[in-house]
Every structure is written in structure tokens, then in C-alpha cells.
């Protein structure tokens, strides 16, 4: 997030004000579906298969109406792969017609030349293409075979349509931190902006975090690289734990969970942040009486998060004021206490805490919508021929006895 405060003295620094919560989120993530054509190994929402309880088109529209009333300026739409929802483009149009800007994350599968031209005409829509390797080899090892080509095709379609400044969104891993300059070159070539975010041990990410999260030396390299680029590269404020390396990177540099950010998941559940899909961080549902506004303003969980945090074991550390103890979700899903160090604490406290933890398994995410391996065969088996050419319902033509 880029933010330029207009001065005028006031009692508390802005960041402290934010910790007590806002009338509406600044940055709301809305995952529209758990369905996805890919099965990325680090998927933070364990997506793959659609959930039958996913919000209907009408329910989604009601959420948008409410966001408009609350003056939520824009939503970050994701999934799953949001564009596989048949009503995705209609919802996009509905949101922008109701003063809710949309930035959506996609693997690029539906960004055809035609869609790209349509997207390029709207000020209210921003597109973010996920790419986790600057080469097909590194990318597809994480995102699956063909994912690199799909993403690159989508990017070229956007660039050809004149969509300036679309985002290339990279999750930093052990295998791509060495490719930062290549990502930058790709973005420059396409007139895109680079966005680098942190790998969290959330969702399926928990299973691969040990092998994929950047080493301590790579974290330092990443920090130096980002610090040298300033606001040219976006980070979604996700590296505030690296503020302990030196000067803070641009952004608010605080854990915004329940304070400035939250997540609406595909079934309408509201969580404190997109990386915390677990019952411990579920604040309510948009389908509850009072809707999303009531959850945001009155949930006990959010009220607790908006209290001053104690800092716990980190309190005595000289870097605490810079990193604020790091990421809540990263701690939770690695089994560390929430008031202790981040697992990737640059002072090494997290590593020591993990080593001392013993064998208690960390908490698992509450839901799992992963594709079941092997992938299902897309074929409908039927013993009887359909009653009519277009009716394959097994009860078609069946009249219950006694009618």
C-alpha cells in the first residue's frame, strides 16, 4: 500500500490510531471461490475444489452493496481462481458500478486478449498475475506444469491491450529470491509493477514452508533489494518483520489483522487476515444478522486484536519497536506462541523457539479444498439413455407410485 499522510499535528501517531481499528477495512481480501485450475503447493487457502456453500451471485451483490455503504474503497479479490466463477465478470462490473474498486489476483487462465482489452479500459480495476519463478522451471515446480506459460500469456495479453502497471505478484521462496532482478526485468519489459510478498505457512503452505521459506541470508538479501527499490516495488506490507534489519520498508509496517485488513472467504466467513483461515481467527459471517459491518465493528475477536498488544517474550528485544513481533499467522501455523517471536525473526529468536518446541504438531488449517489426487475424471457415467437430449437427471421421466 502506498500512503501519503497529510500532516497536521495530532495526539497519536497514525499507526497507533490504526491499531485501535477503523470504521471499515482499508484492505479487504475477498476470496470468491475455493475452485482452482491449479494446485500450487503453497496455496494459503488450500484451494482446489469448489465448496457447495459458496456465496451465490445475489449474496455476493449484497456484500458489495454493504461494502459501498461502508466506503470500502477497493477489495482484493482472490480464491482459488476467482475467474473460474461464471459470474466473476458480472460481479466485477457490479462492484465498480457501486464505487468499490477491484484488484483481483489470477493465475491468468481466463485473461484472453478480449478480456485484457476490456480490463484496460477501467480505472477501477487492477489485475495481479501470480508468478513464483522468473523461469518456467522454478515457477512450475511450485505452481504446476504449464502455469508459467499461462501467466506469461496473460501478461502479454494485458501489455498488448495497453494495460499499464498491472501487477506481477511473486511469493518470495528459497528458489526465487535469486531471481529478483529477472522478475524486475520482466516487469519493466511489460510495463508492469512488481509485487513481492511473504510466503506464509498457511493452508498447504504449512506442508512446504520448511523447504520453501527463504533462508536467513536470503531474507537479508531480500531486505536489501527491497530497501533499494523503495515504493517502486509493492510488498503488501508483508515484510514488516524485516524492519528489524534496518530502516522500515515502505508501508504501514504493522500487523493489520482485524485492524486494517480482514478476509471474507468463499462461504462468507470473515477471518482476521487472509493468512489465518482457522477457527481461532474466525470473527463471524457476512450471512449473520447485521452482515459484514456488524462483524467488522462488533466481533469479540477483532475487539481483542484492537487492544494494545503486550509483546510477550519479544518485549525485551531491542528490535521490538521495529518488527512488533512479526506475523501472527506465521507464528500460529508454525506452533509458536502469538506473543513470541516470528518464526523468521531476523535476530534468530524464532529459529531457536522452533528448535525448542519439541514434537507438538502445529495447528492445522480449518478447511481443506485441495484437489484429491489423482484428479477426478471429467466424465459422467450413465446407465440409461437420457429421456430427452438435454436431460440427464437420474429421476427424469420417473413418476413416484401413487401419483
Amino acid at each position: 500500500m502506498t500512503a501519503a499522510p497529510a500532516a497536521v499535528a495530532q495526539p497519536l501517531p497514525l499507526v497507533e490510531q490504526f491499531q485501535y481499528g477503523l470504521s471499515a477495512p482499508i484492505c479487504l481480501t475477498w476470496e470468491l471461490t475455493y475452485a482452482c485450475n491449479l494446485s500450487c503447493v503453497h496455496c494459503l487457502s488450500s484451494s482446489g475444489r469448489r465448496d457447495p456453500r459458496e456465496l451465490t451471485t445475489a449474496q455476493c451483490r449484497a456484500v458489495i452493496d454493504e461494502l459501498q455503504r461502508m466506503q470500502v474503497f477497493y477489495v482484493n479479490i482472490g480464491g482459488g481462481e476467482p475467474t473460474v466463477r461464471p459470474d466473476f465478470w458480472a460481479l466485477l462490473e457490479y462492484a465498480t458500478a457501486h464505487d468499490v474498486g477491484v484488484k483481483f489476483s489470477t493465475n491468468g487462465v481466463r485473461i484472453t486478449p478480449g478480456r485484457a482489452r476490456q480490463l484496460a479500459t477501467s480505472d477501477y480495476v487492477d489485475v495481479q498475475i501470480s508468478l513464483d519463478g522468473a523461469t518456467a522451471e522454478v515457477n512450475d515446480a511450485v505452481r504446476g506444469p504449464g502455469a508459467y506459460d499461462t501467466a506469461l500469456r496473460a501478461m502479454h495479453n494485458l501489455a498488448d491491450a495497453g494495460f499499464a502497471g498491472f501487477k506481477i505478484s511473486v511469493t518470495a521462496t528459497r528458489h526465487n529470491v535469486g531471481q529478483l532482478d529477472q522478475f524486475q526485468a520482466l516487469a519493466d519489459r511489460l510495463g508492469a509493477q512488481l509485487r513481492i510478498t511473504r510466503l506464509r505457512p498457511s493452508g498447504r503452505g504449512a506442508d512446504v514452508w520448511d523447504e520453501l521459506h527463504p533462508t536467513a541470508a536470503q531474507q537479508r538479501q531480500l531486505y536489501d533489494w527491497l530497501a533499494a527499490r523503495g515504493t517502486r516495488v509493492l510488498t503488501g506490507d508483508s515484510f514488516f518483520h524485516l524492519a528489524a534489519c534496518g530502516a522500515a520498508l515502505p508501508g504501514l509496517n504493522l500487523c493489520g489483522a482485524g485492524r486494517v485488513v480482514c478476509l471474507i472467504d468463499p462461504v462468507g466467513d470473515v477471518y482476521a487476515c487472509p493468512f489465518a483461515i482457522h477457527d481461532s481467527f474466525r470473527a463471524g459471517s457476512v450471512l449473520d444478522p447485521g452482515g459484514f459491518a456488524h462483524v467488522w465493528r462488533h466481533s469479540e475477536l477483532f475487539a481483542g486484536l484492537r487492544q494494545p498488544q503486550t509483546g510477550g517474550a519479544c518485549r525485551s528485544c531491542s528490535a521490538y519497536d521495529a518488527c512488533r513481533g512479526g506475523c501472527m499467522a506465521a507464528k500460529f501455523f508454525t506452533g509458536l506462541p502469538l506473543d513470541g517471536p516470528d518464526p523468521e525473526c531476523v535476530m534468530g529468536h524464532g529459529e531457536r523457539a522452533l528448535a525448542a518446541m519439541g514434537t507438538t504438531p502445529p495447528p492445522r488449517p480449518s478447511g481443506d479444498h485441495s484437489h484429491r489426487a489423482p484428479r477426478p475424471v471429467p466424465l459422467t457415467l450413465s446407465r440409461r439413455p437420457p429421456v430427452t437430449a438435454c436431460d440427464s437427471n437420474p429421476l427424469a421421466g420417473f413418476t413416484p407410485p401413487g401419483r
Binding site: T2, A4, P5, A6, V8, S23, Q71, Y124
Partner: protein, 96 residues
């Protein structure tokens, strides 16, 4: 890349830019520009009053006066408005 901001003219007529939305908050307000996708903060409720009244007042100075900004604080409001103009949150109002 933007050119260096021109000095802010307190005596000119200003308005909130057409693509900007203003959301009041306890500490002041949040501003969002849909064109630049930038966020800005108004760090006091009085500044919010000033910004909201720009469109009805003949000048930014008049808007400050109407919001009862004390003379000794005018310089800091001037700076805040200049910041908002530089980030295109507010823009000059064409003479009617």
C-alpha cells in the same frame, strides 16, 4: 513520474478531485484516489472539515477560516493541503 509540485496557492479555489472518495474516521479521514490508487490520511477532524468545504468556499484560506483554524496553525494546514494537491487528492477548481 510527477513534476515537482508547484507552491500551493491558499487564495485559489480548490475541490476534492472527482476520482477521490473521502471516508471519515475517528482520527480524521481516509482518502482514496481511484485513478492513482493511492491512499492518503487526514490526520485531524478539522482538516476533514476544511477539505470537505473546499468546493463551497471561494478559496482554501476561506475554508480554513470557516473551519476556525487558528492563525498560528494556518501554516501546518497550508502544508497539509499542499501535500494533498501534490498527490492529486485535491485539485484547482475552474472559475465558474
Amino acid at each position: 513520474m510527477r513534476a515537482a509540485p508547484r507552491p500551493f496557492d491558499l487564495d485559489a479555489a480548490w475541490q476534492v478531485a472527482p476520482q477521490v472518495q473521502v471516508r471519515p474516521e475517528r482520527f480524521g479521514a481516509l482518502l482514496y484516489h481511484f485513478g492513482t490508487r493511492q491512499l492518503s490520511f487526514l490526520k485531524s477532524p478539522v482538516l476533514l472539515t476544511v477539505v470537505r468545504s473546499l468546493a463551497e468556499q471561494p478559496s482554501a484560506r476561506a475554508a480554513c477560516r470557516a473551519a476556525r483554524v487558528p492563525d498560528h496553525e494556518l501554516a501546518s494546514y497550508h502544508r497539509a493541503l499542499a501535500t494533498l494537491a501534490a498527490s492529486r487528492m485535491i485539485c484547482p477548481r475552474e472559475a465558474a
